[in-house]
């Protein structure tokens, strides 16, 4: 059909490349999602302190990373970090390897990009906790920390889950851009395959389907999580 030729998929070499690519994509997504969640958490907690200068600095960070292309951020970090010239001796070969390689630069860049999006997601969750609920808890004698831990945080987490799902799927999709700085992830593996087989369209369609499957799986899992933890009346259809 359409003259598509997928016979190359039977070759174990190409299968190996693609599987390796998926594995690196998953690693990159996992590392940067975790780091992004941590950055987002600290950022949002920093905002609750209500210090005007900290607030301004966090806003600056968020807006700069949200309003510039992640591709350029990645290129920027790749070139600056590798320019720093830190090297590490490879224990196997004894050769000097750059300490900050492409994978590391991509992780740093994606973590900061995802972190900026996460700050926003967590902040909107914290903001959406009804004021009346907080006042009610305060009048029951909750202190600041207990109020946060027992009332504000549990409700906010549930409210921000849909937003967080968007951020994490977005981050997963953005990992494909790491191929531009030669991180050997799925997109890069596809490039290797079609340079070898000249089956550009087939390789791209296959990778497209793999990405859609992975992202759908991720968003489905997060939706399940959302349903599992939902409080009746909070964060549903609001």
């Amino acid at each position: 059909m359409f003259g598509l030729d997928f016979t190359w998929l039977l070759d174990p070499t190409y299968q190996g490349w693609l599987v390796e690519g998926v594995w690196i994509t998953l690693q990159l997504a996992a590392v940067s999602s975790l780091a992004a969640l941590v950055i987002g958490l600290f950022g949002a907690l920093g905002l609750t302190l209500r210090l005007w200068w900290l607030d301004a600095l966090i806003e600056l960070f968020v807006e700069v990373f949200r309003n510039t292309p992640p591709l350029l951020q990645m290129l920027f970090f790749y070139f600056t970090l590798t320019q720093l010239g830190f090297t590490i001796e490879d224990p196997v070969t004894g050769l000097q390897q750059p300490l900050f390689n492409a994978f590391f630069s991509a992780s740093v860049s994606l973590s900061l990009f995802g972190g900026a999006l996460c700050v926003e997601a967590f902040r909107s969750g914290l903001d959406a906790v009804p004021k009346a609920t907080l006042e009610a808890a305060r009048s029951l004698g909750y202190g600041r920390w207990a109020l946060f831990r027992r009332v504000q945080a549990p409700i906010a987490t549930r409210i921000c889950l849909p937003g967080l799902t968007n951020v994490l799927t977005n981050l997963f999709k953005t990992t494909s851009q790491a191929s531009v700085i030669t991180v050997p992830e799925l997109m890069y593996a596809a490039g290797q395959v079609y340079n070898d087989t000249f089956r550009t369209l087939e390789a791209m369609l296959l990778v497209l389907v793999i990405y859609v499957a992975l992202v759908s799986l991720l968003s489905w899992a997060l939706l399940r999580l959302e349903r599992l933890f939902a409080y009746p009346g909070y964060g549903q259809g609001v």
Partner: protein, 270 residues
């Protein structure tokens, strides 16, 4: 007179202060004859902005990103409206395929869609006697507009569904047909709520136009990378900062305006 700025004012003051300091540092540097790095960047600025070294004619650069963004947004708005309305259709036969298409495009990375379009679209297509030629630029515009259209469809669906169900019922009880309800009751209200989402999407699309570098179009990232191959390694950082600043200067005001509008329309929920 005691000046006691509020929390928000102090915050804004600091942000404006940081911005002015950065601008001042660059200006002072330029006035002193300019450090070697910045003067290299300034020499290349017309190239990066317009694609030609003298700044005229416009053949690429950041302005091409703007053009691509506007063209893709126009296509995405048209296709997204159709897709969004199909999502709201009562017939399953219309709704479910639209849902599958939307989810597929929303879950696909922009870069991969762009690549796929690059190879999927033929160089030349004859349809009903009319020959279309797909240049890399046309392919990039189409490739960027597809994910945007899917996202816009979701914006439309969200906006229409946010209109209170009671309005449907009261309009129906007044004898309006479905088409009339959409045209006279639902869409005028939903339209107001779509605008912030539409603007956010435009800012997102503008940022994504940088991906068109993979199609070989002479947009700003392509030019940046070819320029850098001619520059010394110490100036790299300055060039990247300059192009990042271009995107920020273009996208941030749009995002800011979108947020203002969003806060304004948040109140009218009925």
């Amino acid at each position: 007179m005691v000046i006691n700025p509020s929390y928000e004012q102090r915050k804004r003051l600091l942000l404006v202060g940081i911005l002015l300091t950065v601008i001042a540092l660059v200006l002072v540097d330029a006035a002193r004859g300019g450090s070697a790095e910045w003067s290299r960047v300034i020499a290349r600025l017309p190239l990066l902005l317009t694609g030609s070294a003298q700044g005229w004619p416009i053949t690429g650069g950041f302005l091409l990103n703007v053009v691509m963004g506007i063209a893709s947004m126009a296509i995405a708005t048209a296709v997204g409206t159709l897709l969004g309305l199909s999502l709201l259709a009562r017939r399953r036969l219309v709704r479910q395929p639209a849902f599958v298409v939307m989810n597929f495009l929303r879950n696909a990375p922009w870069l991969v869609v762009l690549f796929a379009m690059l190879y999927l679209l033929p160089y030349r297509l004859t349809l009903l006697g009319v020959t279309f030629e797909f240049s890399p630029l046309a392919k990039a515009i189409i490739g960027l507009s597809l994910p945007t259209a899917a996202n816009f469809a979701e914006v439309i669906r969200g906006a229409v569904q946010s209109v209170h169900a009671g309005q449907w019922e009261s309009a129906r009880s007044l004898g309006y047909s479905t088409a009339q309800i959409y045209r006279r009751v639902i869409l005028p209200q939903a339209f107001r709520r779509m605008i912030p989402g539409w603007m956010n999407l435009y800012a997102l699309l503008m940022i994504a136009t940088s991906l068109a570098t993979v199609t070989g179009v002479q947009e700003v990232v392509t030019l940046l990378r070819t320029t850098l191959s001619m520059e010394s390694e110490t100036t790299l950082v300055y060039f990247y900062l300059a192009v990042l600043a271009m995107f920020f200067a273009y996208c941030y005001p749009i995002a800011l305006l979108a947020r203002r509008l969003e806060n304004k329309t948040k109140g009218d929920s009925l």
